[in-house]
């Protein structure tokens, strides 16, 4: 396995060829923000929060999709990146209806936490207030499109780990929506195994367990590491 040596935020670090800047940074305790990445499933670069500066590159790069290269000089925490990230979070909050005070995820939401971390104290763009539905047709879970940030973690975990591929993305731009099967109500889905993996990886209050009210939804994705380790090492160990 070939090893690459590079500099991230002034620190000399090493990673394996093919590893992403994101993974190498986190392995070295350099926390790059993210909402769509989740360890154990593929990366898509949907949220753009992990954008970093690479010396000599004309554009910003998504750290989760950029493999490390020998001699790279990466910066993850510049003022420009902080500004972009802050605006991205504000755009996410304005895009759909995030009413934290009455949300199942209030208090343990990745979007809410990241907003606070980036110093968002109000949203500088106009809120859109789209009229979106809540799919409560599934026996055990609910999908609230108002809280969805289209990170597609649910789509990927369902396809890559559960192997069901119930979820997908339909529509373009502002009409983009997460759909079950071919746009069926979730409860009618013939592929869904009701395993709940999508619920546990969802960073916001978009996917939740029925019966949970304001602030009661906690997500636990430790199962993912367990399964991925088993797959990669052929051992069911924690």
């Amino acid at each position: 396995m070939s090893i690459k040596t590079l500099t991230i935020d002034g620190r000399m670090v090493t990673g394996a060829a093919g590893e992403s800047i994101f993974d190498v940074a986190w392995n070295n305790g350099i926390r790059i923000p993210r909402l769509c990445h989740v360890g154990g499933i593929s990366d898509v670069g949907a949220c753009r929060l992990c954008l970093v500066e690479i010396e000599g590159w004309p554009k910003l790069a998504a750290a989760c999709l950029t493999p490390v290269e020998e001699g790279m000089v990466v910066r993850t925490q510049t003022e420009r990146l902080r500004r972009h990230r802050k605006l991205i979070v504000e755009l996410l909050l304005a895009e759909r209806n995030h009413v934290c005070s009455v949300c199942v995820q209030n208090g343990h939401c990745e979007l809410q936490d990241l907003a606070a971390e980036l110093g968002v104290d109000h949203v500088r763009v106009y809120y859109r207030f789209p009229r979106l539905g809540v799919d409560m047709s599934h026996e055990r879970f609910g999908l609230d499109h108002n809280r969805c940030i289209l990170c597609t973690r649910c789509v990927r975990v369902c396809d890559e780990v559960e192997g069901a591929h119930t979820w997908d993305v339909a529509g373009r731009g502002v009409n983009c929506m997460i759909v079950a099967d071919m746009g069926e109500p979730w409860g009618n889905s013939e592929t869904c195994t009701s395993c709940g993996k999508c619920v546990q990886v969802c960073p916001t209050g978009a996917l939740f367990e029925k019966g949970k009210t304001v602030g009661e939804m906690y997500k636990d994705r430790r199962f993912l590491k367990y399964i991925v380790t088993a797959r990669e090492k052929r051992q069911w160990i924690r």
Binding site: L93, V99, S101, V102, D113, Y127
Partner: protein, 180 residues
């Protein structure tokens, strides 16, 4: 009165909100007495006033939801040195803005016809009942806001820390672990 050591002139107003932020204000409990040493409360839902006074600090609870709020907030801005969006409805629209996904007509029909007993109909053309704006809006969409104090509601201690910082001319630093 001594213009240097005079008390800070404070106002609090209640626009489109549930008054929870004001309840939280009262939750400062005995610290209200400390606060009273430092400020003069010139206008608030707890006091009686006709014309909004010139003040140093105004805490604004609630979203701008109707035409009266719109008029009030513009006047308040002109007469306030430091304007604070006080609580989530003022900062984001929050619960007051839940209705924004529906057209005003639908909202009115829901409140005054579909769910009302007895049904007297939607109040129209009555100058005592301010018209709803098409959308309830966070106050910074309407006027310049100097500080944002988040929370639904912000806690008593948070309000106290925040006001004390402003009174003492410091930058308020309310460490929040989450947005809203």
């Amino acid at each position: 009165m001594d213009p240097v050591n005079r008390k800070i002139r404070l106002a609090t107003v209640w626009l489109g909100g549930c008054s929870g932020c004001h309840m939280s204000f009262l939750d400062m409990d005995e610290r209200l007495l400390e606060l009273a040493q430092r400020v003069e409360l010139l206008a608030s839902p707890f006091t009686d006033y006709k014309d909004f006074p010139e003040v140093d600090i105004t805490l604004v609870e609630g979203a701008v939801a109707n035409e009266e709020h719109l008029e009030q907030i513009r006047l308040i801005r002109r007469r306030t040195r430091i304007l604070v969006a006080f609580g989530d409805c003022a900062v984001t629209g929050n619960v007051t803005a839940l209705r924004n996904v529906f057209p005003v007509e639908e909202v009115l029909a829901r409140a005054f016809q579909e769910t009302a007993t007895p049904v007297v109909g939607v109040p129209r053309g009555n100058p005592a009942v301010p018209r709803l704006l098409e959308r309830a809006r966070p106050i910074h969409e309407v006027v310049q806001v100097d500080y944002f104090l988040q929370g639904c509601p912000p806690s008593g201690p948070e309000i106290y820390e925040f006001l004390m910082a402003l009174i003492e001319g410091r930058q308020p630093e309310i460490a929040r672990k989450k947005f809203g």
